[in-house]
């Protein structure tokens, strides 16, 4: 009797496990198929194309080995593009994120009347599409009719004004300002959510003990916000490596590659020049950089959490 019931029991367990497995496959299946088709397969295809000299039309015929990567590493324009990506990361981490955090603390926890209004207001740039942002700022920066130059000539008539998007050295900074303007709202909103997860009692207790604002921030807010900050840093860096739309909409990385990024470089020197093999090698390079960064970053965080 006990033997039979144990067989029935294990059969039920097996059935339930099979049912769970089946449900899991059914739920994950579509996402897995989409991920494979639209992420894994194209990455592998790009890796294949990067070994050829191919104009994108017709079959792959001209095997090139690793020469595309050789050209890539030696090309000063690609090096310039990589430098620009690094600069965007540095300024995002040094300017954009601290600015977002500061505003989050003022506007996210502030009890003043317009706090909620400002939360929405600062978030608005993020809602605009990249192309609309590019077109908008081209109007603002326009040397003859733009907003900035209109203001300048109002206060100082006859002043030739500025032409940031026409300057080989200035165009990068002009676009960097737009990038910070567009994305700080997102990070601010994430920080506000993070701040609201900090129990008010902790702060009150600290203040009762005589802690100043700075001490509260340094010893209570920041440590408890650490995970949130780590996440925004991660997304900010990955996003900075892949930035394209805004740069493209504001002059395609030109004049003279002044604002070139790795992805605009890929588009220009691969796609537009009918040199898909080379473009694919750039794509593989970006992929490897992002992958290495992700792995290193997560290892670093895990080690910190464990230790």
């Amino acid at each position: 009797m006990a033997y039979e019931s144990s067989i029935v029991l294990s059969r039920t367990v097996k059935k339930r496990r099979r049912a769970t497995l089946f449900t899991l496959l059914l739920l994950i299946g579509p996402a897995f198929i989409v991920f494979t088709l639209f992420v894994i397969v194209p990455v592998l295809q790009a890796a294949e194309y990067s070994l050829f000299r191919w104009n994108g039309l017709g079959p792959l015929t001209h095997f090139y080995g690793l020469r595309n990567f050789g050209f890539l590493l030696r090309d000063i324009i690609f090096q310039k593009a990589l430098l620009h990506n690094m600069l965007i990361i540095v300024f995002s981490l040094l300017v954009e994120l601290p600015l977002a955090l500061l505003l989050a603390m003022i506007v996210g926890r502030g009890k003043f009347k317009l706090a909620v209004f400002f939360r929405t207001f600062f978030f608005l740039p993020f809602v605009l599409s990249e192309v609309i942002t590019g077109v908008l700022w081209q109007f603002i920066y326009n040397p003859q009719y733009g907003l900035i130059n209109s203001i300048i000539s109002f206060f100082s008539p006859g002043n030739p004004g500025i032409a940031p998007l026409g300057s080989p050295t200035g165009v990068f900074w002009a676009i960097l300002i737009v990038i910070i303007w567009k994305y700080f709202g997102l990070h601010m909103t994430i920080y506000i959510a993070g701040l609201q997860g900090i129990p008010v009692e902790l702060e009150e207790a600290a203040r009762i003990d005589g802690a100043s604002n700075a001490q509260v921030i340094r010893h209570i807010v920041l440590p408890l916000l650490a995970t949130t900050i780590q996440i925004t840093v991660f997304f900010s860096i990955i996003g900075s490596f892949q930035i394209f739309d805004i740069v493209w909409a504001m002059g395609r990385g030109d004049p003279v590659n002044g604002a070139e990024t790795m992805v605009t470089y890929l588009y220009k020197f691969g796609f537009q020049r009918f040199n898909m093999g080379y473009g694919s090698s750039v794509a593989v390079a970006i992929f490897v950089i992002c992958l290495v960064f992700s792995i290193v970053y997560q290892r670093l965080l895990l080690r910190e959490q464990r230790g």
Partner: protein, 432 residues
Amino acid sequence: MKRFMTTAAIAAVTFLIAAGISFAGGQKEPGAAPSTGPVKFTFWHLDTATNQKAYWQGLADAYMKAHPNVSIEITVLENEAFKSKVATLMQSGSPPDLFRSWGGGVMDEYAKAGLLRDITKFVKGTAWGKTMAPGVIAVYSYDGKQYGMPYDMGAVTFWYNKELLAKAGYTSFPTTWSDFLTMVTKLKTTGVTPISIAEGDKWPGMFWWAYLAMRIGGKPAFDNVLSGQGKFTDPPFVQAGQKLVDLTKLGSFEEGFLGANQGAGAALVGNGKAAMELMGQWGPTTEAQNAVNKKGIGDLLGTAPFPVVEGGAGAGTDVLGGGNGYAVGKNAPDAAVDFLRFVTDEKNNATLAATGTIVPTAIGADSGLQDPLMKMVKGIVDKAGYFQLYLDQYYTPAVGSAINDNVQQIFAGTMTPAQAAAAIQQTYEMNQ
């Protein structure tokens, strides 16, 4: 059993959806459908201006009325978007049936990849083939085969403001380069921007470099590059770059010209803020479109050929130009080819010429040219002993891009003319 049926049903539905997705999309029209059955083809152009858009729609409507079984699907995109979209379609292997093309190297790439339909049999030795000058038809051929036809072939000329020139003491446009430079200096003293250039788009700068190289080195300079006897690093091309540096040092261009796009550059002339631009035959149209008054400077507009460079080997009648036409996609039905013939026939060509936006190709269609400026441009084209297609269309896309990019570097002062020439030559050699 119930669970098995559920699984099977879900699997079947998933499979059907996946199969449907993979077979959907793309054209299913056969190559040459019988002319009596219903035929559909796609027609892609980039004339977003209202009157031009209406013209093409009107032409399609007229053709569909005369051929009730034909249905034409028009797609209109702005210039840069058009180029990107067509490039993507080409890579997917399903080109539009008729699409705007400038001939030359880019069209050659498509032909080499087998993406275009060979229409030689419709053109060679037929009445259609005799409607235009042979040199003009040749722009849309590759390796002896015809892949499209032009309806517009003009020249790049100066479009200038007669009033602003008169204020600087000029009643006619200079014919030599040194006179031209003197005029630019005088224009600057009157407080106006001498030259508007949309160097953000890069190809306007290429016009200057190309013309200067043509005036200094003549046709032989370009022939030598093609034959391998010469290079882009030869004196005519480097000297052309040097003259550009001279021009830039004079402060001839507008503030922020390195970032200006075609619309912004045209607006300056159309609003009377710049004295001239070096532009193709669509110059007046773009100026009007982008001007505040939507009409441009009207009667104040004049046109003149590029000046001669003293001591140069090129003739003042040599022309840099190009035009517009349509290439035929590999899947195009015969009806599409017939529509192309309709587009380029004398009557329709003359109607379009009357709008003042093109220089017609059909012999006899210049009777429709009413605009005296356009008549002048046509005269310049007809007299050309040497007609050079825009360099970024003439050469392969890689070389064309290299020319545009490196010439921009000359304008920006970030490369010397010799360095730019060397970079162009390097790309040219890599793509041989």
